[in-house]
Symmetry: D2
Subunit: 469 residues, 4 copies
Amino acid sequence: MSDQSKTSDTDASAMWGGRFSGGPNDIMEEINASIGFDQRFFAQDIRASKAHAEMLGAQNIITPEDAQSICDGLDQVYGEIETGTFTFKRSLEDIHMNVEARLKEIIGEPGGRLHTGRSRNDQVANDFKLWVRDAIDQMDVAMQAMQAALIDQAEAHSASAMPGFTHMQIAQPVTLGHHLLAYVEMLGRDRSRLMDGRKRMNECVLGAAALAGTSFPIDRHMTAKALGFDRPSANSLDSVADRDYVLEYLSALSITSVHLSRLAEEYVLWCSVQFSYARLGDSFSTGSSIMPQKRNPDAAELIRAKSGRVIGSLNALLIVMKGLPMTYGKDMQEDKEPIFDAHDTVMLSLAAMTGMLGDTTFNKERMAADAGKGFSTATDLADWLVRVLGMPFRDAHHVTGAVVKMAEDKGLGLDDLTLDDLQSIEPRIMNAIFEILSVDNSLKSRISVGGTAPSNVVSACAEARKRFL
Amino acid sequence: MSDQSKTSDTDASAMWGGRFSGGPNDIMEEINASIGFDQRFFAQDIRASKAHAEMLGAQNIITPEDAQSICDGLDQVYGEIETGTFTFKRSLEDIHMNVEARLKEIIGEPGGRLHTGRSRNDQVANDFKLWVRDAIDQMDVAMQAMQAALIDQAEAHSASAMPGFTHMQIAQPVTLGHHLLAYVEMLGRDRSRLMDGRKRMNECVLGAAALAGTSFPIDRHMTAKALGFDRPSANSLDSVADRDYVLEYLSALSITSVHLSRLAEEYVLWCSVQFSYARLGDSFSTGSSIMPQKRNPDAAELIRAKSGRVIGSLNALLIVMKGLPMTYGKDMQEDKEPIFDAHDTVMLSLAAMTGMLGDTTFNKERMAADAGKGFSTATDLADWLVRVLGMPFRDAHHVTGAVVKMAEDKGLGLDDLTLDDLQSIEPRIMNAIFEILSVDNSLKSRISVGGTAPSNVVSACAEARKRFL
Amino acid sequence: MSDQSKTSDTDASAMWGGRFSGGPNDIMEEINASIGFDQRFFAQDIRASKAHAEMLGAQNIITPEDAQSICDGLDQVYGEIETGTFTFKRSLEDIHMNVEARLKEIIGEPGGRLHTGRSRNDQVANDFKLWVRDAIDQMDVAMQAMQAALIDQAEAHSASAMPGFTHMQIAQPVTLGHHLLAYVEMLGRDRSRLMDGRKRMNECVLGAAALAGTSFPIDRHMTAKALGFDRPSANSLDSVADRDYVLEYLSALSITSVHLSRLAEEYVLWCSVQFSYARLGDSFSTGSSIMPQKRNPDAAELIRAKSGRVIGSLNALLIVMKGLPMTYGKDMQEDKEPIFDAHDTVMLSLAAMTGMLGDTTFNKERMAADAGKGFSTATDLADWLVRVLGMPFRDAHHVTGAVVKMAEDKGLGLDDLTLDDLQSIEPRIMNAIFEILSVDNSLKSRISVGGTAPSNVVSACAEARKRFL
Amino acid sequence: MSDQSKTSDTDASAMWGGRFSGGPNDIMEEINASIGFDQRFFAQDIRASKAHAEMLGAQNIITPEDAQSICDGLDQVYGEIETGTFTFKRSLEDIHMNVEARLKEIIGEPGGRLHTGRSRNDQVANDFKLWVRDAIDQMDVAMQAMQAALIDQAEAHSASAMPGFTHMQIAQPVTLGHHLLAYVEMLGRDRSRLMDGRKRMNECVLGAAALAGTSFPIDRHMTAKALGFDRPSANSLDSVADRDYVLEYLSALSITSVHLSRLAEEYVLWCSVQFSYARLGDSFSTGSSIMPQKRNPDAAELIRAKSGRVIGSLNALLIVMKGLPMTYGKDMQEDKEPIFDAHDTVMLSLAAMTGMLGDTTFNKERMAADAGKGFSTATDLADWLVRVLGMPFRDAHHVTGAVVKMAEDKGLGLDDLTLDDLQSIEPRIMNAIFEILSVDNSLKSRISVGGTAPSNVVSACAEARKRFL
């Protein structure tokens, strides 16, 4: 896919001066051609070629008439591809040669002037950057949509109690709304990560030519501006050798896919008989011919699994780039399929998760019942001992431990113990303590910034709408 | 893809008792359907279904007539797929349902009896095992072909001197034949690794049913035998939850892809102007429109890069399987695409490398000249001091170091020094020493088992033919 | 760590002929020295050196007296390291130079003869192979111990009902014993994989020397035999460039760590309040100062997590080896830490899991109660319709679906429906059907090979003892 | 390492109310304790505890006297650790308990009040964030130092010709200065990536408590400000469950390590006899006892290899985090060792590479000679045909191809052909063409933005100093 190298056949051999008498065989074409996947950025290729042609015209490197002719011809090619009448030829290897060859068929000689002052090396890097930039913008919208779905459910459940878990053990009561907003934060970071990467990559590489720059009096600032880049890249060798923008996007997607896998795992658990916290609607569950009541969370399982696929793609490209000397090596043609697959996978996972969130009925009673299990308000008791009796934290923990043990031995909940029971362990305990042992009061008390109190969740939802939607 | 779960639409909804009124939407179908890739093992699916049907007939679980009817119908389905007249329906999700639905269209009611005593869980695992087993057998042949190409070149170059490198520095002379035979050994281990994995996986899982076995009086030994398995698997839960055979094949392919990347790296270097050791033929190199003399080793670069892709696939599936509770989870549907891609990638890489090996002209003069550079026979000198003068090895190294330093200071090769020069460092050195300072004599002397002496290489080639071809 | 290269300082500079006047600085020593980790195979280094010395003596390459002196000296060095009186010097870079330098201090001049006919390149590869081989043998014992713990629990629970899951949904009843035996099978494959790798790697590389073999009349068969190898390696270049045995061991450990992560995930779930299937003893759980009744399954979580670490190590070494030209490169020094860490991690994980298995109390009542949930005997009903009424399987599924729907609508279990209820759906159903709708009868019926019937589990345990213990 | 869970022994058992009679055994302590590695952030732990105590005092949650006493005590603990007199106890599991236990020994009862309103879950996350933030700042300085070393060499070689490579084939002449500046750009992106991640993670999690927030009237803004954070985190569940900052730092380090591996690969090639472009000084090369003239680029090889290690660590933590339900799981204790290792590895690699750059002598003559090989000015010829003769680019390529073929057939360079030769191919070619066929003129002509012209390189160096140093 570089200007320096490509295979030949009837169509392409002319460009190599007829030097390859043997011709590439099937294996070589199979391993070498990229048109099978790089046609995906035809729109970016044509857009960039138009910007390049206009600059060549403005700089009088080609005539304005030729520039216009090229742009018109490229518009026609675009239309043909868009409408499906274009025939991609594998013998022309890649999207760039396919477009250019067709352009020449349409407009003749001026078509041969388009490639002035550029090379396939900067062309492919530039097209690919445009594609990644567009992909980031799509991804951002998809993440925002999932945030919206989370916030909707969080608002509906700002006061719905559920157990907060550590080690899959019930630790303290929280609200479902608060739980869901945790994922809104994750996606917020994910989006911010995308935007940072977008800004960092937003330098135009057109004009780096093969690797050394060019002697044509091109105006790289003009091309950069036309294509929405912040500036031209600073070093021509780096420009054609760099794939950081792909690696960075893959890294960001890997982290997102891990976030999604965590919520997916929770969905799988919540849909189990043992938890029974959530019931998926018809659209996002699958049944069984024999057990029609089943609502298997297949989509959640697949989302969980697909994190492997995304991380695998990141890993693949890091390995490809390892140890490559400057500048372009054909190795770098292996950059596209991983990112295409990772992008599609995360887009699909986000869509499925967003759909699931809107299609889930939560079992509030079940969750609330579990929220009180496991002596989940023991921390409240200890905090009370500290706050009201002035006990040091560690001592309060010791007393609480004794209370919990008593409750467990008696098979009771903490608020089922009598004042006598409690005073047998710590005589200063008063009746007021029973106010803080219920799930609801525990929840209401967590009003520290970022805490789970229902009032906090209501304002956090409003705040999240402002920050993210 | 399990018996327990699948999405519905017009075709499939009947099987779920009409319970899903909403119907799956596009996202769900997109994320859930596997027919896009699992149609690849239609032949294995049909083969296994025939074996199952015959067993059901032999055990009188279904009538012999039904069994025959099923087998005939399956043969017809096979023919339809083979000839391209079969229409795969995404609404039927996977290859198994597509085949079975068509079978019922063809033979009617008996088609509904095929699935007796089995489940999609054991069916998919068994089909996939058959596919992996077939893939291993193909891979073995491809590896053998590359060994043959290596041995051919090794025989032609059993006495061609080249530098042996450590740290990319010239260390000692070796022969090109010996160098190429190193890769024959690697591929030998690769093939042996495949065969071990094949043997380990060769247990039939049909009859594990959904996960618990079945109450039908099936004969698992009969099915296993019919499908070329060594025995039925020992535990039904393990049978449907296990994907070790895929992970093990991916591990083996990853190691092979690393081997190929090493030879590919050498090709890239050998084809550089700085080395100029090898010249690729027309078929496996690419040129440039502007520099037709170029013979870019694109295939070698791609082979080197594709190791990233294979390792990425291994990584992906290890991640998918991490932390999955028993038994089948939909996550496991993500097992197919990585192995299909890795298998195809290594098959293609092997084919390209085999082709390159046959299409390479080695520059013997250049390699021989380099073989003598860098005082590459210094070890021979040191060994001579030990062998003839009885010096301890470490002392001999010290003397040799001084000789090398003298030669370097004088800008001479070791065998350009005079006896006086040498004796000024170590008086006991005699004229006989000059016999061992030439590249050819160095090579001839390395007759230890596995050593690089041309005579060794000749016999090693003959031995390799016996062991591997 | 190769013979060709090392840094100098006061100790080592003499060996380099005083050429490096500048001396390595701290950074270089920090990045270059391996003694910090490779001292771990001192025993293997000394064992191999003794075998080499004995061979040199037997071949009269050195005198028998020198050989004896070397062996005695090496025994003394071994004793010093074993008892902790040996001082490792970082300036001597690696274990090989540390041992040899001390040997020369002890025995003087003959110490300088040990390295005759070998190089650090073959020495390090050979030592490392011996270490990996020993590691495999230890690992095999640890895996066997876990199999024993599994079989013990499986025997105790051969008839304990639990739900069999797919998609974390209750699918069919199984026995806990059967469930645990699934892991015995996995470990059985793991052990077999180790043994295959051990056999494949069991070729002695001593005598490959730097890379080309040697002109000394060494007897590689003698050394190989003395060190328990099956034969000498066939190609000297491959011998020093090969790290397949490390990659293969890491691959095997990665698969094992995935197996362990699956059981660990189940433990985490089983220990949750929602499941409450298992209760860990004091030794393998952790509590909380405030909630002393807690038994957090920390060890299980860590085992689950550590799969990431092991897979990371495999990935790391595959990347290290990617694209390395022949033969030895310093890159390969990065082979040791990943395998040391992965080996230790899996050994620890196996020990912890084995301990947990012995320290777990299963809640049979809870598991049995869950085993009957979710209409888990629906498949039995369908199979009965096929077997007794001769319905095609797919039709039987349809009827069963209707029965399940009726039971769900009525809020009853399948065996709570009346015969009238059932006959309203399928008139041919008889009273006998109630015999197969209970969990226990379902279990008993699964007597196909590998099925979950308690009688099967009993014999499978006996069989497993024979196969594995 | 969470507040909810820890193992006990003589020291810790009191805190669990004596519930664990059995006591943890060695395996459990081995797998569970983190003090072996988390003592690395003792300074961060103490700093954060002081900020927490001061806030508790300011809010009157504890008395100002107790707050002061705690801070003084913590200062003493810090001093003890700093001076090496502190005894870490594995029985106290982690750095947090070690510090707190010692604090109580020193100041008595008030020590038990420090943990009020916080938990180990937010404490460990906050300490770790502080450590990562400090690590990023160190890393930034190290990257800047390498940029400085690159710019120094680039300035010295702003006009030194070398071949620009694609596919390891000579493509066009560039300058060494331009080549080195490509890496300055990469490091510039690397630093910018670090800074973005630093900003994103810069939210204080103290006050999230175990997971739900707290009922104590803490002031999270005050603590955040005191510790240099931009704000408190918005969601308590996310706060304790999040490890994005570690994953993002590992991603950034992985990309940097790939950059370093590319330069390392070039160093290995440049130091080979075949290239002979660079000669390492004594400090960063290693020799051989037998070949003292050797300057093996061991450091470069190790830097190249260590990319595997860093990528392996990223992969490991992504796997650890995959599928973890909210909130804290013990799995997350596996977050520290990968990041410690990756940070140290990249710091060392940067130091070694920076040192190598300062210690390298480039062989300008050799590089310049190679710069003219391979018809490297063919593009200049083609561009001349376009610019001067007005030929379409593709036609110009065709003519150039014919010229190159002629030169190759005659065994001449392009500028060795006569005007007659050239005109036999294209009659319009004039004598002026010879001005552009030399390496120097080719270089001088590449004055497009980012191009390799020496004048560009001079100004690019000045610009880089302003942007980065």
